[in-house]
Amino acid sequence: MRSAFAVMWGAVRLDARRAFRQSGWAQRLVAAAYLLLLAAVATGAYFMFLRGFRILLADELGGPVIARYVLEASFLIVAVLGTASGAVTSGRWLFLEAARETVASLPVPLHERFLFRFFGLAILSSWPVLLIVLPALLALSSAANAGLAYFAFASIAVVLLLVLVSLLASIMAFALAPLTRYVPAGWLALIEIAGFFLAGIALVRRVVPRGLFQRLIVSSSAESAAALDYIDRTFAWMPTHPLARAAAFVFGGSNDTVIDLLTVALLIGTAAVLVAVLVRLFYSRILFAAAETVFLAKPQDAPARRLPPFPRVLRWRHGFLFERQALEFFRSPDDLSRAASLVLILVFYVFTARAMAAMTVSGRPELYSSVVAFSVAAIGYMALTMAMRFAFPAPLLEVQRGWIIGASPMHLHETYSWQYFFWAGGIGAVSAAGGLLTAWSFGFAAPLAAMTVLSAVAVGMSVTAIALGQGTVFPARGARDPDYASTSPAGIAAIALSGFYLWAVWRYVQNYAQVFLSTGQVDSASVVGVLTLSCAIVAGYWGWAVHALENRSV
């Protein structure tokens, strides 16, 4: 008889095959693009590590020291990223699986049910291993002409790392489950991301102290031993330390390698026992709580207090349409946490770009103007990501609830206008903030700052018009989930058109910045170009969408 695990795994494969058969060309294109991108990143990482290790290992004395540090840092970064990624998704993945009600009614042993989800969690958390550790270890083997023994140790190290990361993520999920009684899942994910962000900063301060490279550059055997001792002490309390030491087998095998792997195995065994105890004591209880309420372990909703009459703020003629959008957005923890994550990434990007620019292109107008244009394009990219996630599926959601407004004495084009005001207002404001932050952090002169902010706002409003317009004219009716609506042909067309538009804005901003940085003059033609192109897109899509809505059956 097949085990429950095998039956569930068979169902997943069946689902995947069905999803592939039912997907359109656009979804397959997007999936292929993602796979190609992942393969390109992994290959790029491999060649980057290979080049680095070859240079390092050419120095017989100092090379192994720095290579060892790179391994320690890579394993640690991957463990933190994998655990963060696993922890953020593990709450939903372990306790709120889509098929939980079906599975709960089947004679599936609890430990097999957990094991199956744990297996999935390991796959979900494996991306940093595939993109960083695996290329690093393969590159090291090529650079050092490693033998079979190295491959055996490295393979075991990779598997142990994956298991360790998934166990840590599971322990975090169990530890945080009681909190979901008070905090919605989306908010909790955001808090976890912020927590890992702070923990990451603390770790970086510990493992990359000031003067690190002076300690790692050695010129004698004694200094080399001291540097290795320093690395051992720095990473000693990290669970990845024995794994990195095991992978360093390539610099000369020793009995320590086996001891290191046994140490990790013991650590993993302890974590596994802890997880087994948690599963036995709490898994069933949490699953029941999750099945009974929207949030884990939350008691049934008590009657809520009566709120003041709607609309509360926007009481003018059609303000209630705007206020409804706002209420729906701000009451959705998922939407809020996604938007907040995107804003965090934008802030992170601006400061990274600032640091890179300061190091490489300071005082070179032709390169500096490219960085300025790239910053505006990056703000546009973030605005596009938001527009495709929020504005593009909005008309689809409106179609699904079309009986409410469609059968009311409201012109459908008014709903488009208010949706546009809402999303363009929000995304435009985020873009404006991104432009201001860029101008402030780079220390732009006023004319360049004004162009940056103006372009950022124009980009935000235009990509929203493209996304909302495409979503309105071609609502992705077949999409089961708004999250996947952007992979429809209309969504891909919106992304492609936005790409062309962002390229054009890039050229205008680059031109403006180069003229200003070289001559101190304001290039009015570039300003007019950005404004004309953006206004044409907003007005064109408004007209097209309104025409489509007035001639549509809902």
Partner: protein, 247 residues
């Protein structure tokens, strides 16, 4: 005595999907003060018929008039006089039940004082006043159906178009819905109801229209349906099964 003026008229209406007729040359009317039941097998065109009346689908031929106003030529005028309650009460999950009703009140431009008193009265009828302060997305299907019915009755339309009014409702709520509809009809309203719940339709409706493949297969009062089916003492369900067997 002159015949009451129709509040809903289908004038040789046709609707095609991919060149297949969903509704074909439909002609019927509903007068003020009556409830007409629209019955027929799955795929016979009932939902399409209802959706054309409330402006969600555009007829390919013919005209649909609400209170004399063409739904295509004067959509806002016609829609001001009607209300629609769908079979799937999908709405705004992150608004409370009361906020959703207030939103519908805003759509129809109701005075806020009047709107609040109507909402309280309708919620009280279903015993939902406390529960309606919860988020719509957390409600059961039955509760959503009741809130949708409240939304339909909120602005006291000339004609109420309902697609499957009783699905998901408990017996007590079915009784409440029937009472609310009867009171609404007494005040001069009219209702056009598509349903498969034939015992309730038999109790509630004065006339019936049976559709098959987008055309009227039979129409009339229960007595006329019995005569058509050749079942003098049969229930509406007996008549339906007999007529459906002949199609």
């Amino acid at each position: 005595m002159s015949k009451p003026k129709p509040v809903l008229e289908y004038d040789k209406v046709s609707k095609y999907f991919n060149n297949v007729p969903a509704v074909d040359g439909l002609a019927l009317s509903v007068a003020a003060g009556e409830i007409v039941g629209l019955i027929g097998p799955n795929g016979s065109g009932k939902t399409t018929t209802i959706k054309m009346a409330c402006g969600l689908y555009r007829p390919d031929a013919g005209a649909v008039r609400v209170a004399g106003l063409d739904v295509v030529k004067d959509p806002t005028g016609a829609k001001r006089r009607l209300a629609y309650v769908p079979d799937e009460p999908v709405a705004y999950d992150r608004l409370t039940g009361r906020e959703f009703l207030q939103f519908v009140g805003e759509l129809f431009g109701l005075d806020r004082g009047y709107r609040e008193s109507r909402i309280d009265a309708l919620l009280d009828a279903y015993g939902l006043r406390g529960m309606a302060e919860g988020l719509y997305g957390t409600f059961s299907r039955g509760t959503k159906q009741k809130i949708s019915m409240c939304a339909g009755l909120l602005h006291e339309p000339d004609i109420l178009l309902i697609d499957e009014p009783m699905v998901g409702l408990d017996p007590q709520s079915i009784q409440t819905t029937i009472s609310l509809l009867e009171e609404y009809i007494k005040r001069g309203g009219a209702a056009f109801i598509s349903t498969h719940t034939l015992p309730v339709a038999e109790r509630l409706c004065g006339r019936f229209v049976m559709l098959a493949r987008g055309r009227v297969a039979a129409a009339g009062t229960l007595a006329e349906m019995r005569a058509e089916a050749g079942l003098p003492r049969g229930s509406l369900e007996d008549c339906y099964l007999s007529l459906a067997g002949k199609l």
